[in-house]
Symmetry: C2
């Protein structure tokens, strides 16, 4: 008889682990508990669902729950919440559609995900103040801003969904606020612009998209403003104003901006209550601490996905990195390890890409000097403005590439870039160079492809490495 593998959480990390363990070790019994209605979904697509590019929430589903059960042989139990873990007995307590019971495990994976953080200001519980970390929250938001385009939730398990009921038959919103000019904030701002709404974006930071680096923010800000967005930077939100329990305005030191809806996703917190109640340790980031195989302080309990820490390959430090690929990869590695082939979950270098209207914005590694110094590096940066195609090929546009290196070792530390085309995939070559610990000299001499429709002869990544190489050469020359 095989082992019994129990997974808490039926999204990226949980189902990747379940699928891989079952595929590679057929005699494993795999049970997945998911407290919600949805399993295996692409939450990253929510802004496009809100915008209307994607019609149905079910389009975001990666795998049909029935297929997970029937084709993959995974015992997926939706609407089942794991409420506690008894590590000594090797059981979890489950609260499900079919009552409360205990389920035993040989190996346990915690893939409980993360939750959106709302700003800690008065009025955050008003109707019309949203976060969209879950599919149901996305549905509620879409219904709120476009009631004729999205049906209300068939199940209404959350406060958000209940709140929207009070809004039915009200007028369509005209103005919305996004609090937090971060990735999800800018993606949602784009969605609202696409729906013809007036959009006000608030952030206390001086630049948009702080995680993408200040050096490319200017081009993004110009682009967003040209599209009609009202960007209120260095403008902390001090509260939300309401009328009859519904949002009516966003309050700052400069006054109140009237709005009909707010999305205020200012961060992601790892869901660790289940783990900590059972004595599973968290690390310095607040997420569950794991070793390189995803194992917690209990040798039979793994953690992966947005609830668990990852290791940053450049700093060696644990980080909270709540993104889809890292979750999928860690889940798959744990499944493979359980099937008998020990596989590290892999570190991250911090690669992110996003679409901001007509721009592609990308970053990887360490781009910020303060962060580089904290990690023990001596940072030096270069910024180039180049073009996306050969200068003679019609349709080229401007591209800004910024990169940071360690002046001591010459090692490339990171890059961030923005342009209308060709940054989303180019960043991956930098991510590869970071994993290989290449110097800027190494990167500048890479053999990249060239064709006039796709870039200049010296690819922008080579171009910025070349400039850094020259800068470092001048530093190292005797006076």
């Amino acid at each position: 008889m095989g082992t019994k593998f129990v997974v808490v959480g039926g999204d990226a990390a949980g189902l990747s682990a379940a699928g891989k363990a079952k595929r590679d070790a057929l005699d494993t019994d795999v049970v997945v508990f998911e407290r919600g209605d949805w399993a295996s979904y692409g939450a990253c697509g929510l802004p496009y669902y809100v915008e209307g590019r994607i019609a149905a929430l079910s389009d975001l589903q990666v795998l049909d729950p029935r297929k997970i059960i029937e084709d993959r042989g995974i015992d997926l139990r939706r609407h089942h919440e794991v409420t506690s873990i008894d590590r000594e007995a090797g059981t979890v307590a489950v609260d499900g559609d079919d009552g409360r019971y205990r389920e035993s495990y040989d190996e346990l994976l915690l893939a409980t995900g993360g939750s959106a953080t709302l700003p800690d200001v008065p009025g955050r519980n008003l109707t019309g103040v949203f976060s969209i970390r879950s599919l149901e929250a996305g549905r509620a938001l879409k219904h709120y801003i476009a009631p004729h385009d999205a049906p209300p939730s068939p199940r209404a398990p959350t406060g958000t969904a209940q709140r929207l009921l009070t809004h039915l038959a009200e007028r369509d919103p005209e103005a919305v606020a996004v609090v937090g000019a971060n990735k999800i904030g800018v993606e949602l701002a784009e969605a609202f612009v696409g729906r013809g709404l007036d959009v006000h974006v608030f952030d206390e930071a001086p630049r948009v998209l702080p995680s993408f680096g200040a050096d490319v923010a200017g081009m993004v800000e110009d682009h967003l403003r040209e599209a009609g967005l009202d960007l209120l930077l260095e403008t902390p939100v001090t509260g939300f104003r309401g009328s009859n329990g519904r949002i009516s305005g966003v309050e700052t030191a400069d006054g109140v901006v009237p709005v009909d809806a707010v999305v205020a996703d200012v961060g992601v917190e790892p869901n660790v209550d289940l783990a900590t109640a059972a004595g599973i340790d968290c690390g310095p980031t607040g997420a569950i601490a794991t070793d390189e195989y995803g194992l917690t302080n209990d040798p039979n309990v793994y953690a992966a996905g947005d609830c668990a820490e990852k290791r940053h390959l450049l700093t060696g430090e644990p980080v909270h990195w709540p993104f889809a690929l890292a979750a999928n990869r860690a889940g798959r590695a744990i499944g493979r390890t359980l099937a008998g082939r020990p596989t590290p979950v892999g570190g991250i270098v911090g690669t992110q890409v996003m679409k901001a209207l007509d721009l592609q914005v990308a970053r990887t590694g360490i781009v910020d000097h303060e962060a580089a110094r904290t990690a023990g590096f001596d940072p030096i940066s270069a910024l180039i403005t180049t073009i996306t195609r050969a200068h003679y090929y019609p349709g080229w546009s401007r591209m800004v590439v910024h990169a940071t290196a360690d002046a001591d070792s010459g090692r490339l530390l990171g890059a961030n870039m923005v342009g209308e085309e060709g940054t989303a995939h180019r960043i991956n070559s930098v991510a590869t160079a970071l994993a290989a610990e290449m110097t800027v000299t190494d990167v500048g001499s890479l053999d990249y492809g060239y064709a006039p429709p796709f870039g200049p002869v010296w690819d922008p990544v080579l171009g910025v490495a070349k400039v850094l190489d020259e800068k470092l050469g001048r530093i190292s020359e005797p006076a």
Copy 2:
């Protein structure tokens, strides 16, 4: 007083070296001899000029000759042909607008480029049979197929240009043949389709784009045929038929296909006559042999660009790799070396990208099993069909990715891919992994960016590495 650096050839390699040497060592006297009218031009743009996307030949110029002279301080002498080298005396013989003379050098760079190879069959000298390795040949071709769109050459130094004069006032061509379904052939076929011509493409090979790997050819062939191209594969051309000295048809074993013009660029030969006459050694590829700094067997004579060999980083063998980036890089490195900072010219891994109508085709490294075995590897491959965006994001299309690894070491050897978007820049991340000698396990665990408009969660490069990793895992398992 500084040294005197003489360069033969005023295109990518020559002017990169000249510019870098002058910039980094101001007291160097730099003289560049260019036998033609053009210096510093993007010959890679010729297909788009022929198509009409690029109006004027001068648009392909990277740097204005006057600026090269005045702003960069380089003594560029166009219409000056170097006819011999006296290595003992340290001089070159020059034949120029201003007569014949000798010029002394301390250091010499041969950047004499390459020449198009026409197929060795009867009729190749007929009027209307073209190659387009040079700007003037491109102009002649465009004038021939679209006489109202391109003026005849202001100077007519070549046979090609003379031949076109006989064609003036003739009818516009309706059907053209491309002999060689290689990169330049397919780019030109696209240009001819863009001009509304009937296009017949001949190749003796069974698939198009042999250097890009057979595994992606099917998708390209379907696409070209859908666009109306007549692809005649496994069809060697046995001769060209003429009428009154002008091309009238392409002859194969199956008969004669009537055409009004032919482009037959079946290869590039390095221009080495000047070098070999002076006792400079060529390597096994027929191009000038150099060491890692671009130095020939004479310690004062360098060679770079399409006339010189490069080293392939995976095989360690010399190769003839007549492409723009390698030429630019080698030139720049030599300029830097001469300015006092020894800089290797860098090897190549064989990265190529191209546009084929609506497709992007890309390759790098070793993808072919026979080539892998010749280089001492034990090849294993995987092919995946994936999509260019998240499955729920509108506008996705199919993408085919093939990769080859060494079964002994697990090292990734190469990849080739094709799709409507996202392959031209993705290939560079594979090129980076090849330079870093990564295994498929290493590549599969890279931290790449993900956003729904730009790809699936597992980037196609990670996806194909994952499949190869699984294949290798099964091989290494005990029976």
